[in-house]
């Protein structure tokens, strides 16, 4: 059996998530509609509703080391249908960043690697160079021939340019990368009237 509340205050983690995402996860009453519509649910070890539950009970480690937060495709299905209007996508974003920030191991290395390479491409060229991105990714994943058939087919149809396009305003892009911080603090909005 795991003891839920060790030394920390019981609302610590959920308050943190709330402060960083602006979403009050305590409103969630575990109806499960988010998970029911999630296209990736069957690949997730922890369903989205359970991620929210685990935040409620301060289970930070379990949440931040789960693969779910990386598998979420940001498709917005859950948020669109959540009866409590909890923006799970925003919560997932915050969890991913927290997980990185605090040095948790990412169980979905591939996804993280892809994201990194993607952003590196943007940082270097201002745009994404798909061929370079795919090659780099496959090499790094030690599966250089993955999706090769498809890649060649696309290539043959002239859909994958060999050279990256580089934009003019690269200084600005570099500046944006240099200045951006991972978190935006938000204030939760108060109750409204009529």
């Amino acid at each position: 059996m795991r003891c839920l509340l060790v030394e920390e205050e019981v609302h610590q983690f959920s308050n943190l998530v709330k402060a960083l995402s602006g979403e009050d996860v305590s409103k969630c009453y575990q109806c499960g509609k988010c998970s029911a519509g999630c296209p990736i649910a069957s690949e997730m070890e922890i369903l989205p509703n359970r991620i929210i539950r685990l935040i409620q009970i301060n289970s930070k480690d379990t949440v931040l080391s789960s693969s779910t937060i990386w598998l979420c495709a940001s498709c917005e299905t859950c948020f669109t249908r959540c009866p409590e209007e909890i923006d799970l996508v925003r919560v997932m974003d915050v969890l991913r960043r927290l997980s990185l920030e605090e040095g948790y191991r990412c169980p979905e290395e591939g996804i993280l690697r892809f994201n990194r390479f993607f952003l590196a491409s943007v940082k270097n060229y201002g745009r994404v160079h798909e061929l370079g991105l795919m090659m780099k990714y496959n090499l790094a994943s030690r599966q250089p021939f993955k999706d090769l058939g498809q890649g060649i087919a696309l290539f043959r149809r002239g859909k994958i340019p060999l050279r990256p396009q580089r934009i003019k305003g690269m200084d600005q892009i570099k500046g944006i990368f240099a200045k951006s911080k991972p978190f935006l603090e938000r204030e939760a909005s108060g109750g409204g009237g009529r």
Partner: protein
């Protein structure tokens, strides 16, 4: 009608034919598209997964590029770009402090005087069905299209807000105006898993299989899309879906702009229809004798 045009990375590579066909079909509708000068990537989902500020700043830079060149409306044909640009625009507009913070990161003074819209929204609302209808020279009689909107075009409703979030109909109406028959089907807004196209393709294959299956159930000849990411997945993964789930698919995936171009009498190659992995040749033979 003059609009800013934000093609996004994909329309310069894997979705070239989307770009081609937009540039070809829009003049028939008096739509003048001006490419946003020196645009950069919107950051897509990796951007906001890593840093919200980064995601906002990358989008705002593009919006500023448009604003600076007096482009008051920007059309983003890619659903992901559309979603990023539109929600970034909304967020900074609604929060003056955030706006100045992001402007500091970008190093420009964006003021929020730009609207972000998707191509099909502009086609339906600004151009109008009657204008589209009157540009048709070769009605697409007898073709049954399943219009696929994907997950991000209508969601979240508070950001997108131009069509019914669960059962969008704009594209269906446009297709109808071209003389074709839109089928009513179940997977209009299901996610195709685009962001895992490279890192977790097996997820994409599963989701694509579901979508193709639903289109097949609805007896559609073809799926019409309005997003380059949806297209790549649905077009490229059909053989893998067959290998894995044993269903035989040969469903051509067409861009809405290609379909419009066809009805306007534009040529097969010019519209980039030869670039699809699942060739639409047979389909078009069935529908349009001239092809």
């Amino acid at each position: 009608m003059r609009y800013g045009y934000f093609p996004g990375c994909a329309l310069h590579s894997t979705a070239k034919e989307f770009d081609l066909s937009i540039r070809l079909s829009c003049p028939h509708l008096d739509l003048e598209l001006v490419e946003v000068p020196d645009w950069s990537c919107c950051g897509a989902s990796p951007g906001h997964m890593i840093s919200e500020e980064l995601a906002l700043a990358l989008s705002v830079r593009n919006l500023y590029q448009a604003e600076r060149h007096d482009l008051t409306t920007v059309i983003a044909p890619c659903a992901a770009c559309y979603s990023r640009l539109k929600s970034a625009n909304k967020e900074v507009r609604e929060d003056a402090r955030l706006m100045s913070r992001i402007n500091r990161v970008v190093g420009e003074e964006f003021t929020g005087k730009v609207e972000v819209r998707h191509l099909i929204e502009v086609l339906y609302k600004d151009v109008g069905l009657s204008r589209i209808e009157s540009s048709v020279t070769k009605p697409l009689k007898g073709m049954k299209f399943a219009c696929y909107y994907g997950c991000l075009l209508t969601r979240p409703p508070k950001v997108a807000d131009f069509d019914d979030v669960e059962n969008p109909i704009i594209m269906d109406r446009i297709v109808e105006a071209l003389g074709a028959e839109p089928v009513s089907w179940s997977h209009k807004t299901e996610c195709c898993g685009a962001s895992f196209a490279i890192s977790r393709p097996e997820i994409v294959v599963r989701l694509v299989d579901e979508i193709l299956k639903a289109a097949q159930f609805a007896a559609a000849d073809s799926i019409v899309v309005a997003c380059p990411l949806c297209h790549v997945n649905l077009d490229m993964r059909q053989s893998q879906a067959r290998n894995k789930y044993g269903r035989n698919y040969n469903i051509p995936i067409l861009y809405i702009s290609q379909v419009i171009g066809l009805a306007q009498g534009e040529a097969y190659k010019a519209l980039g229809l030869d670039k699809h992995l699942v060739s639409p040749k047979d389909l078009l033979k069935k529908g349009l004798a001239s092809f």
